[in-house]
Symmetry: C2
Subunit: 298 residues, 2 copies
């Protein structure tokens, strides 16, 4: 019998979404960083919906500090709102925990979630707690609503061949610590959409090798990557930059004629965060392929 390990995450999702009713004309297709709800043309604001989960033994270790795990659980969701050009608003937190979990662990987890919500001016709206059988992994599932100004919304699917590809920060080596205490690029994303709106954007959660092909495919493009231009985290190889995952940086496309002005304005606005041109989109069927990156069922 075929199992999830045999087909991987993207193929699984493609099979599942056919099996339930969806919006007839969604503002963003399934597979973008957030779902987009359009309340109608009279509204200048679109609603964003997102769900994400952390699993003990997969996204964090049993001895990871609970407060950092909580920060990460919320910050991953904030990063997805950033990727759409929006902001987070209300969070729902579902904890599925073994009964022998120390109360202090759950409290520290919530403190970390609270740290992230305060930083990003969001609030806790509700939650759910459930036991899991003793010995099972803890699961922290977070759903949230957010919003984006209609003219600021960015999808993955709207770039064109020839557009330049850029990435914020440095890539690789997240397991050394960044995966727990990263800062979602919401300030940077909000600046981008108002000053140099990209033609497509996403956040890097599963590694450039997995995520860049997703952005290119969503836009109906191929891509070429300038490996020598990849911004490597200190001590990391190109392979790590491509495959480690959990960078939580922004990957975006922009018209090539705007790159020079963007880079100049960026370094004035964010002098401590790199912005690197790493390749370009090409016609679909051309360019290269990438393998690797994180697959949840691999």
């Amino acid at each position: 019998m075929k199992t999830l390990r045999d087909i991987g995450e993207d193929a699984l999702i493609a099979r599942l979404i056919r099996l339930a009713p969806c919006d007839a004309a969604p503002a963003a297709g399934p597979g973008d960083d957030c779902a987009v709800v359009d309340p109608g043309p009279a509204s200048g604001i679109l609603e964003l919906l997102k769900t994400d989960a952390l699993v003990a033994g997969v996204h964090f270790l049993p001895d990871s500090p609970a407060r950092e795990v909580g920060w990460k659980a919320a910050a991953r969701v904030v990063s997805d709102f950033a990727a759409m050009g929006g902001r987070p608003e209300r969070f729902l937190v579902t904890l599925a925990l073994p009964p022998d979990t120390p109360i202090s662990w759950a409290e520290d987890l919530y403190r970390g979630i609270g740290d992230c919500l305060k930083t990003h001016h969001a609030v806790l709206a509700g939650g759910e707690t459930s036991g899991v059988p003793q010995g099972s992994s803890a699961v922290v599932s977070i759903a949230a609503t957010g919003s984006v100004r209609r003219e600021h919304l960015i999808l993955r699917s709207t770039a064109k061949p020839g557009h330049a590809l850029l990435v914020t920060g440095t890539l690789g080596g997240s397991l050394a610590g960044k995966h727990l205490n990263f800062n979602p690029r919401i300030k940077e994303a909000n600046w981008l959409v108002s000053k140099f709106k990209p033609t497509a954007m996403m956040d890097l959660s599963d590694g450039l090798a997995k995520d860049l092909p997703r952005l290119a495919e969503a836009s109906g493009c191929g891509f070429v990557l300038d490996r020598a231009a990849l911004p490597l985290t200190a001590g990391c190889s190109i392979e790590q930059a491509l495959g480690d995952g959990e960078d939580f940086e922004l990957l975006f496309a922009i018209e090539p004629a705007r790159v020079t002005a963007l880079l100049a304005a960026w370094s004035g606005e964010f002098p401590n965060l790199a912005l690197s041109e790493i390749g370009r989109l090409v016609e679909t069927g051309q360019g290269e392929t990438l393998h690797g990156g994180w697959d949840h069922f691999g």
Copy 2:
């Protein structure tokens, strides 16, 4: 070190919600069936938010039919929207599954979710999949948005001493099958709020023994229960009706002078579903106490 088992679910939630920022003036306090978002006095519609989770080995067995598990996962959330007087709209589905899960199991689960969404005119807006370590329990976490007309919103906290307590359907014995294939009482709840609006309402998920004290406490009341009036599922004892849980019936309070007219109208509208008066609310500190019902960390 104290663990979740030592304090139980309600005490845990009370401790956790103090640790994260919440809405300054929420339309419904934490602990109601859904969170309520008020877009402002100009809007006649309030937004509802809900999250819920099913865990293998806790809420369903490994050999439970996956399609029924999917129905249950979505129907539990629909039941919470019913309890607020509202309707479900958009669903986010998070699956945390072991890599050796058969693809067909995940597909059947989604078919069951789809069945429930179609029945209740809701749509799938997004989702997330993650692996869990081999041997860990599967977790199905569902978040959803819904809506309620402002004048139809019902909370748990707005009943008064002297109000009659009523319950739909029969209680107890859900493990024999009803817990997997129940029909959320959304039609009944929508009729109630427009014809005989209760003063407080909730859905019964953890058993009357656990849930009735929650409704009474939220309203600042005590309660007395007429055990002889409890509508027992065929073959069930009073203890089972109080403690089995997962009845997914509506428990509500209403002014005593309206009970006779309500019961007459109900039997005309819903001839195949019992509606039973089972007690009344009293001043806080008076009445009785109940023990038992479902606790996730017991």
